[in-house]
């Protein structure tokens, strides 16, 4: 079974560098100078961080016009498009990393999107809100209400999230799809790594968000933890 990586990533607990700390975790997984496609790049904060701090050759895909405009204003290369329909246009292995941050749960076909990510990139980095987080479980179990948390802030009728999953669900899906989970992290509500995440069951309970480094085959370097 998967062991969630206990390695401490040198990330701060504050929002310095103008970027959310969960995004800094993602950034820490990316080699400098790499070719990166950020799917669902929003206003481009991660992409800009990667371009400026890591000198990556970065591209974005974003569905909203306002997001695309915000990116273009910063001089980033971003295509207005839809992860559900447009990923098929990219050639296999075109990027070193394909990032899908907090977007998988909004797609119509998460499985197809997931397959496309690992096809297009040597690595894929996926993060999503964990529906198995104890606060979610608590709200559903005790209050009988759809969870509203810091990583799931909107009520049921307004949320763009249509495919919820837990960290455990996601890991099972990766195993079924033959996707290698090279690294996995569970982060707390603030987006910081928790020191207590030693086992999958705890990660699934105490992690507000899961962050995963995926590949189609075992990477030669690194990969301390793999899907069982």
């Amino acid at each position: 079974m998967t062991n969630l990586d206990k390695r401490q990533i040198p990330i701060g607990s504050t929002y310095n560098d103008g970027i959310r700390i969960d995004l800094r975790l993602i950034a820490s997984l990316i080699e400098p100078g790499a070719r990166v496609l950020d799917v669902g790049c929003g206003d481009g904060s991660l992409l800009r961080y990667l371009v400026e701090k890591k000198d990556v050759d970065g591209r974005g895909l974003e569905i909203s016009q306002s997001g695309v405009r915000a990116c273009l204003r910063q001089g980033l290369s971003v295509v207005q498009g839809d992860a559900d329909t447009d990923l098929k246009n990219y050639p296999s292995g075109a990027f070193d990393y394909v990032v899908l941050s907090e977007t998988l749960q909004t797609t119509h076909n998460p499985l197809i999107v997931l397959r496309e990510l690992v096809r297009i990139g040597r690595f894929a980095i996926v993060s999503f809100p964990n529906f198995g987080y104890w606060r979610c479980r608590w709200q559903l179990l005790v209050r009988g209400r759809m969870p509203v948390t810091k990583s799931l802030p909107l009520p049921w009728h307004a949320t763009p999230n249509i495919h919820f999953s837990t960290i455990a669900d996601f890991l099972t899906t990766c195993r079924q799809e033959g996707i290698v989970v090279a690294r996995s992290y569970a982060v707390d509500q603030r987006g910081a790594l928790g020191a207590f995440f030693g086992a999958r069951v705890f990660a699934n309970l105490f992690g507000a968000q899961g962050v995963f480094l995926l590949a189609t085959e075992l990477p030669i370097h690194g990969g301390e933890s793999v899907a069982g």
Binding site: Q65, R69, G75
Partner: protein, 398 residues
């Protein structure tokens, strides 16, 4: 040499806002490229000597790296900014090209050439054939978008510009920008096709055919020989323009501008005068157009657009047009453009993505239709500004 005696001033020359100072407007009417720079057309005909009329704005920098080639649309011309010498109105992109504007003439050397087969001084049907001393008229060879681009490349050779910082254009200008990037990837650092497409659709061709039929069925067209017979197919050309103009706007734009308003009276007159405001507007568009455009040029240029199909040059596979392209692209489309719809721009973006090209793409939300690229659309300017600044940074111009 004057470009053409057809170019009578418009009825009401007027400037309704501040335009740029004459210093930004370098008057260089045209160059004649000598025999060595002859142009072999797609049709197999060789054009020599080749005359290209162009305008420049701003200064070329020391290493000739700051040139932006603006490609004009079907009825545009090289007078991008400043006062147009024929119409007396501001140039067609006076809101985009100038000091401090997106195409900043304090930073870039902006040039625009009248297209081949045009009627503003470049070699075209109304120009005099040196062999006969008479206007070419229909003896002028058919040209293509590819030919227009090859002619522009010869102009750049002449000016000593190896690589453009950017090639940009809307509509037919966007077709040229795509052709440029595809044909000369090493001569283009960035390309911005706006409200454009990699091919003319059947509907596009159909509208053009209506325009051409309107011109050719005007008895004053004289089988194209009207200049020698001191006649002009004004009626036909005006109808062609009226039809085309409808395709440049949108239902919403027409409704907002005119609704069902009557031109003069409150009551219906039960006749066929220009009773509705929209009729009067279209007639005005038609009548002012004939003062600045040559009917045969209209036939030739619309035909060139009809022939354009970038994928066809590569066995029908558009992505092959951009193989391993080093060019940075910014594709811009307007949501209400039904003449060059967003889907056509998306096809270009897909072809670029298939090459993992450096491409940006934005759909600008507006209800103003195809001509939005000529209007004050702040979001469009925003995108254009951001892209050009980013590209300039990478090119070392900032």
């Amino acid at each position: 040499m004057e470009s053409s005696d057809l170019m009578a001033p418009a009825d009401k020359p007027m400037v309704d806002r501040e335009v740029h100072t004459p210093e930004t407007f370098n008057h260089q009417p045209k160059i004649v490229l000598d025999g060595e720079m002859s142009l072999l057309l797609d049709s197999g005909v060789t054009l020599a000597p080749l005359t290209i009329a162009y305008q420049t704005y701003g200064e070329l920098n020391a290493d000739n790296s700051n040139a932006i080639l603006v490609c004009h649309a079907l009825t545009g011309d090289q007078y991008v900014a400043g006062i147009h010498p024929v119409t007396g109105r501001p140039g067609w992109w006076d809101n985009v090209v100038g000091p401090g504007l997106p195409l900043d003439t304090d930073r870039y050397f902006v040039l625009c050439a009248n297209v081949l087969a045009g009627c503003m001084g470049s070699l075209g049907p109304p120009e005099t054939n040196p062999k006969t001393g008479k206007p070419f008229a229909l003896s002028f060879p058919l040209v293509t978008i590819e030919d227009m681009v090859r002619a522009q490349a010869l102009l750049l050779d002449h000016l000593g510009i190896d690589q453009l910082f950017c090639v940009i254009g809307g509509s037919m200008g966007g077709m040229q920008a795509l052709e440029w990037a595809s044909r000369y990837p090493d001569r283009v650092f960035s390309a911005v096709p706006i409200a454009a497409a990699a091919r003319h659709t059947a509907q596009n061709i159909a509208f053009h055919e209506v325009g051409r039929q309107a011109i050719m069925s005007d008895p004053n067209w004289c089988d194209g020989d009207y200049l020698n017979q001191s006649k002009r197919p004004q009626q036909g050309l005006a109808v062609a323009r009226m039809t085309a103009h409808i395709t440049y706007l949108s239902d919403a734009a027409f409704h907002r501008k005119f609704g069902r308003l009557l031109q003069d009276s409150q009551e219906k007159t039960y006749g066929f005068d220009a009773e509705f405001k929209v009729e009067s507007y279209l007639r005005h568009q038609g009548s002012t157009f004939v003062d600045r455009f040559d009917a045969n040029s209209y036939l030739y240029i619309t035909r060139a657009m009809d022939y354009f199909d970038l994928a066809a040059q590569h066995d029908g596979v558009l992505s092959m047009s951009f193989r391993e392209t080093p060019v940075r692209f910014c594709v811009i489309a307007f949501t209400s453009d039904w003449l060059f719809p967003v889907s056509e721009s998306q096809a270009v973006v897909q072809a670029l993505n298939a090459n993992a090209a450096n491409v940006s793409f934005c759909e600008i939300e507006t209800d103003k239709g195809h001509d939005s690229f000529l209007l004050n659309e702040p979001e469009f300017f925003d995108v254009l500004n951001g892209f050009l600044r980013g590209a300039a940074k990478h090119r070392g111009l900032i």
